[in-house]
């Protein structure tokens, strides 16, 4: 127990970061406000020019914070694999450095995952917009980072997880081989990881009460770039992993 909060000692939260120090600090602060704290938070500084660790006071957080650094950026998939290998938890939660978690986030992902059978490999949460601009409204309205249920017989199942907001069991993750590092940019990497898990027989469910706020990028240029990356990663997933 840290203070009067329960610590979920068998959980690790893995976050990768690259050149977004201020946003990362906001995320780490939001972890402090969780109603159940993680056993540890693993931050992978993926080759940021300004090193992350010296700019964080690790002892000020009410949870164990560990920072590791890749001198050369490996990309989000490679960096997350490093994070998982550095972690100890049986349940591994992922979010991004441009997110803020709500207080029940971890507890709700954890409880849902623990309540499932052994083939429930992961749980995905709800992604709301942090800002109120028109681009953020669009992303939220279209639920861009929330895969829709796809199985009429199992209406709570989702086809894949999104690393902005999900948790997996270590066993499922390791058995599937983790993230596919051939995808070296954000977009499709989480889907590919999910397809690896699905090929191993695991399935995924939605947890509506595990909520994060995401800072969506603004402007047409970013809108185009984001979906270009998603499309590119999506093609890799189709060619490499489908049909299951």
């Amino acid at each position: 127990m840290m203070g009067n909060k329960k610590t979920l000692s068998d959980t690790s939260v893995v976050v990768t970061t690259h050149e977004r120090m201020d946003m990362l600090k906001d995320l780490l602060d939001s972890f402090s406000r969780l109603n159940c704290l993680p056993g540890e938070v693993i931050v992978i500084d993926d080759g940021s020019e300004k090193e992350v660790a010296p700019n964080l006071d690790l002892d000020t957080y009410p949870y164990t914070l560990k920072v590791f650094r890749n001198e050369e950026p490996k990309g989000p998939a490679g960096a997350r694999n490093v994070g998982v290998h550095r972690s100890r938890g049986e349940i591994i939660a992922f979010t991004d450095d441009d997110c803020i978690v709500e207080s029940g986030w971890l507890k709700n992902l954890y409880s849902h995952l623990k309540s499932g059978d052994e083939m429930l490999g992961g749980v995905g949460g709800k992604v709301k917009a942090y800002d109120d601009d028109i681009f953020s409204k669009y992303y939220e309205f279209k639920s861009i980072l929330e895969p829709r249920p796809h199985d009429r017989e199992h209406p709570n199942r989702i086809p894949y997880l999104v690393t902005a907001n999900c948790a997996v069991t270590r066993e499922a993750f390791m058995r599937a081989g983790g993230f596919d590092e051939n995808i070296d940019k954000a977009g499709g990497d989480d889907c590919a990881m999910s397809m690896r898990m699905a090929k191993s027989g695991y399935y995924f469910e939605k947890e509506e009460d595990a909520i994060i706020l995401h800072r969506f990028k603004k402007g047409f240029r970013n809108l185009y770039r984001t979906f270009y990356r998603y499309g590119k990663g999506g093609r890799y997933v189709v060619d490499r992993y489908l049909p299951l």
């Binding site: 829709r148 809108l223 185009y224 270009y228 499309g231 093609r235 997933v237």
Partner: protein
């Protein structure tokens, strides 16, 4: 977000795990879908101006996704050449 969502928006969940790239491309947004999108935004309570902007975003998003999807073929080519 991936091509899978585009399938799901067409309410064909049975195809999620069974498609190939060609099928995915043909299932992406078409110009004739745009009025339906706008109407659906309005029915969902999105304002007149924002509904129009959302359709514009849908167009940009679809062009970008399709270009990216086509460019993504190189991933496997790189893998084969390694």
């Amino acid at each position: 977000m991936s091509w899978i969502d585009i399938y799901l928006s067409d309410e064909e969940p049975g195809q999620v795990y069974g498609a190939d790239a060609e099928e995915a491309l043909t299932s992406m947004l078409k110009i004739r879908d745009l009025p339906h999108l706008w109407i659906n935004y309005r029915k969902s309570g999105v304002g007149l101006v924002n509904s129009s902007i959302f359709v514009l975003f849908d167009i940009v998003r679809n062009i970008a996704y399709r270009k990216g999807f086509e460019a993504g073929e190189e991933y496997l080519e790189e893998e084969k050449s390694e």
